[in-house]
């Protein structure tokens, strides 16, 4: 039985576990129909030209984890940003772990999707926001919507900001030979409110994990959202991360994606600007080796005048890794005075590595400044020689240059401890013992 059929039949079993009278269920039923019709995307589709899901579909994934699992905090401490105090929403094999988490209802809501779905007090919010910005058309998003049950629910009321950043961590323990996870997150930031979120997916075993995650973010007027995605998973973990962002007037949303691992990672990052004077930032550092594959697929849709978007993605590709960047900017006819920038720089350090990039502009307004730049190259031999001539070994010199190459993106990380952590991961990835934070 292939994965699609398995998922379709599992949906019937899934229906037994949820409240069918809940209006959410109507959304789910509609979504599963869309998935049934469209199936998994294939390489024949333009958006999936460079990323194949064929091998994933051959794996016999368990859709529902059979038993619950507990983890000791000391074993997994390193996966948290433990240097600072944070709220934590932790899931083990898709199941909420209250023991490891720290949620709150004090002024702001940092809790679970399952309670938001089920408690009457959240019903209005769910009706107003759930599945409103996520694509109704894209098959994998629909698949997630159909199975949406658990995930992080974050609601920041007007003029509020949580005391500390929020970490969302999904662990896979490998209790099952192969596991498919479909977390669903909803982040609502009301007028002039603020939030910082760090998200991570982490597999703890060599067993196969496939995560199909959807996050919806609503930023109301003058809201500020800072979202960091840390992707440094094992060779057996695949992730399809779909993020949909709805921005209202004068809001500011930035998403940083750090991709250092995983077998196959696909980031669908979609911004819809619905108001004037909006600022959107999309940044990413990708450093890959082995046979890893990362596909960044971004969309910024400028629907109103006087907005800005900034995109900066840096990639370093070694061994047999593959990198894909497909950035799309759409400027509607009425979105005059748009400033849209897109930059994608890549370095290939191995003969077997591949880069496919497609920075795409679709512009229907005339009074705009849109530019994109894209480069593929290698490290400057002169710069390398300069460093070596001053006694820095080649390996370290190379690492320094690569770090400098990606530094632009790190500059805008607003949590200093996270920056230090990312620096460490980069040093580790490049195989050097350098602090970088000079």
């Amino acid at each position: 039985m292939d994965l699609k059929e398995k998922l379709l039949s599992s949906f019937l079993a899934f229906e037994d576990t949820v409240d069918l009278d809940n209006p959410v269920h109507e959304v789910r039923s509609k979504a599963i129909k869309n998935f049934e019709e469209k199936g998994f995307p294939t390489k024949k589709q333009e958006a999936w030209k460079y990323t194949s899901l064929n091998t994933l579909q051959k794996v016999d994934f368990s859709i529902f984890p059979k038993e619950e699992n507990t983890l000791d905090y000391k074993d997994i401490k390193k996966y948290f940003l433990h240097e600072i105090d944070t709220y934590k929403i932790v899931f083990i094999d898709g199941v909420y772990s209250s023991y490891l988490s720290e949620t709150t209802h004090d002024g702001v809501d940092v809790c679970l999707m399952s309670s938001a779905f089920n408690k009457p007090m959240y019903r209005q919010v769910i009706e107003a926001y759930f599945n409103k910005v996520a694509s109704q058309d894209e098959s994998l998003t629909s698949l997630n919507t159909a199975f949406s049950k658990e995930g992080a629910y974050i609601y920041i009321p007007k003029n509020k900001a949580p005391r500390k950043p929020i970490q969302i961590v999904h662990f896979a323990t490998g209790n099952e030979a192969s596991l498919m996870l479909q977390p669903r997150n909803l982040v609502i930031v009301e007028e002039n409110a603020e939030v910082q979120i760090i998200e991570r997916h982490q597999s703890l075993t060599e067993n196969e994990v496939f995560t199909n995650c959807v996050t919806e973010i609503f930023a109301a007027k003058s809201a500020r959202v800072d979202y960091y995605k840390v992707q440094n998973d094992r060779e057996t973990a695949s992730l399809i991360d779909n993020t949909y962002i709805d921005q209202k007037r004068s809001s500011n949303v930035s998403v940083h994606t750090f991709s250092f691992g995983g077998k196959l990672t696909r980031n669908n990052l979609n911004y819809y600007q619905d108001g004037e004077h909006i600022d959107s930032t999309l940044k990413g550092v990708t450093i890959l080796g082995e046979k890893q594959h990362v596909d960044h697929h971004t969309l910024v849709h400028h629907q109103q005048p006087n907005c800005e978007s900034h995109q900066d993605y840096k990639g370093i590709f070694g061994e047999k890794s593959t990198g894909v960047f497909n950035g799309k900017i759409i400027v509607d006819k009425i979105a005059q005075k748009t400033n849209a920038f897109q930059q994608n720089n890549n370095i290939l350090i191995s003969d077997k590595a591949t880069i496919n990039t497609k920075p795409q502009l679709e512009i229907f307004a005339d009074d705009v400044k849109c530019s994109h730049g894209c480069t593929i190259g290698q490290l400057d031999a002169d710069a390398l020689f300069y460093l070596q001539s001053r006694g820095i070994p080649k390996k370290e010199a190379t690492a320094l240059l690569m770090y400098a190459f990606s530094n632009n993106v790190l500059d805008s990380v607003r949590i200093p401890e996270l920056k230090v952590r990312i620096n460490k991961i980069i040093a580790n990835k490049l195989g050097v013992n350098l602090g970088f934070d000079l």
Binding site: K333, L348, I355, C370, G373, Q378
Partner: protein, 481 residues
């Protein structure tokens, strides 16, 4: 005195297509529709050898199975391929030795187009192979070329007289089954140009062909094959105008360039087919496959100025197969009213130390849509491949669109690829600066557009550059944003 915007708009709208006229010449036209019989009939009509007929049939069979591509960023009513007549030839087709023998009406047509044959012969030093509805009726300067061993004739003549060359090279760069329109062209191509430059010969003049679509309801399926043997050089010019018609006309041409070791081909196009009227009615559908193959140290340079056609779908490409080969693409695409253009290039780097340059300038006005679509591919064995791409778009008015779809695929670590794209409109301060110095707005726009396109215009041969500059002005007159 500066025009007001209203006045300019009015003038633009009333500006009719200058070259829209229709010559009444008896033509022998096949019944409409396409079948194996028609393909065979075309082949027989042209007295082709059996291998050619077979080749056409093969293409037809492939075409039958294929579907029209729908990925380009254009929308149009799909042509009905069974409602097109696939062959038409001017009835009187003796070969003329002098211009006096030519049908006076035909000569008149050329005059209106501004191509005076004798003038060109004497002044420009250009050999013109005029294709009027698919069959070439006049070939000049053949003798001068023949002395150097250069073969420049119609492709049907080449099939008769140089079958070995044609058979070896036709379809080698653009195979029959390459794409829908290439397959269609391979099956039914009526005529076109053939050019062979022998080893080490530098072609002494610019070779040029003027294409015209004339017969009502006939598509034109040109096939061009240019072969530059080792160490040779040729500059080939192609320019087009077409009479205005209400019915959409289909043009599906195939151009194949082969540059052997150390050879260089420069291929320049000025395309000014009927773009449809201001309501977007009529106009030519231009679906062209152009591709060149570079062997060692060879160079192919495409230069195009696209101002006409309702729909343009064109990607002149270079396959950089040999080491040290060079591919260049310089393009200006101008769209106005309801025109749609999806154009760009492909640079396939296979050999070592290959270089490619892409400079594309898109100018959109009115309600038009202008897309750049390009592919730069560096194969894993293409050491030290180098590419530079620049795509700039200029938008005039707030109802047009500019799009870029650059695909960049690198499989070699020594590759160096740069891509840049910008989109902007003509700055008010730029216009103000000109106004301030006594240049009216209309002229200022022309000046700025000219400056914007200079990089590409400079690559055109002299006589073309002047014509192209004029075309740009005509196409954009009055479209001040």
């Amino acid at each position: 005195m500066a025009y007001t915007e209203e006045e300019l708009k009015k003038e633009l709208e009333t500006k009719e297509y200058e070259y829209g006229f229709y010559t009444d010449i008896d033509s022998e036209t096949f019944p409409k529709g396409l079948s194996e019989d028609i393909v065979i009939a075309i082949s027989q009509k042209k007295n082709e050898p059996e291998w050619m007929t077979e080749w056409r049939l093969e293409a037809y069979r492939v075409w039958k199975e294929m579907k029209e591509p729908d990925w380009p960023n254009v929308t149009y009513k799909k042509p009905d391929f069974q409602a097109i007549s696939y062959y038409s030839a001017p009835n009187k087709k003796p070969k003329y030795d002098s211009l006096d023998e030519v049908d006076p009406e035909l000569l008149d047509t050329f005059k209106k187009l501004g191509i005076s044959l004798d003038e060109q012969k004497k002044l420009a030093g250009v050999a013109v192979d005029i294709v009027m509805d698919s069959v070439s009726v006049a070939t000049t300067f053949k003798k001068t070329l023949a002395e150097k061993g250069i073969i420049f004739c119609s492709i049907s003549e080449a099939i008769q007289e140089h079958p070995e060359l044609v058979r070896k090279h036709i379809g080698s760069v653009v195979p029959q089954k390459d794409n829908f329109y290439a397959a269609l062209n391979s099956a039914v191509f009526s005529d076109g140009s053939f050019c062979y430059i022998p080893k080490g010969v530098r072609c002494p003049m610019e070779l040029s062909t003027y294409f015209r679509i004339n017969q009502a309801g006939t598509g034109q399926f040109e096939r061009t094959l240019v072969i530059a043997d080792e160490g040779s050089y040729v500059s080939y010019l192609e320019g087009c105008t077409a009479p205005s018609r209400d019915e959409n006309q289909l043009h599906a041409a195939v151009v194949e360039l082969i540059a052997l070791d150390d050879a260089e081909i420069k291929y320049s196009t000025v395309q000014n087919w009927f773009p449809g009227d201001k309501e977007g009615k009529g106009g030519v559908y231009n679906f062209v496959t152009k591709r060149g193959l570079c062997e060692k140290n060879a160079k192919i340079s495409w230069t195009q100025v696209e101002t006409g056609s309702a729909i343009t779908w064109k990607y002149p490409s270079c396959i950089l197969k040999g080491d040290n080969s060079i591919g260049e693409f310089y393009s200006i695409a101008v769209t106005n009213n309801f025109q749609q253009a999806d154009t760009g290039t492909k640079m396939i780097h296979l050999g070592k130390n290959t270089k490619s340059t892409i400079i594309s300038k898109g100018i959109s006005a009115g309600k038009s849509q202008n897309s750049y679509r390009g592919l730069v591919q560096v194969n894993s064995r293409a050491e030290n491949a180098r590419n530079f791409s620049q795509c700039d778009s200029l938008l005039m008015g707030n109802e047009c669109g500019a799009h870029t779809f650059p695909y960049i695929e690198a499989k070699n670590k020594s590759a160096q690829i740069e891509h840049e794209a910008t989109t902007s409109k003509i700055g008010e301060d730029q216009i103000f600066y000109c106004n301030q110095r006594g240049i009216d707005t209309e002229k200022a726009i022309a000046l700025i557009v000219n400056g914007f396109s200079k990089e590409v215009l400079n690559k055109l041969p002299m006589e073309f550059a002047v014509e192209a500059q004029k075309l740009l002005e005509i196409s954009l007159e009055g479209s001040v944003g």
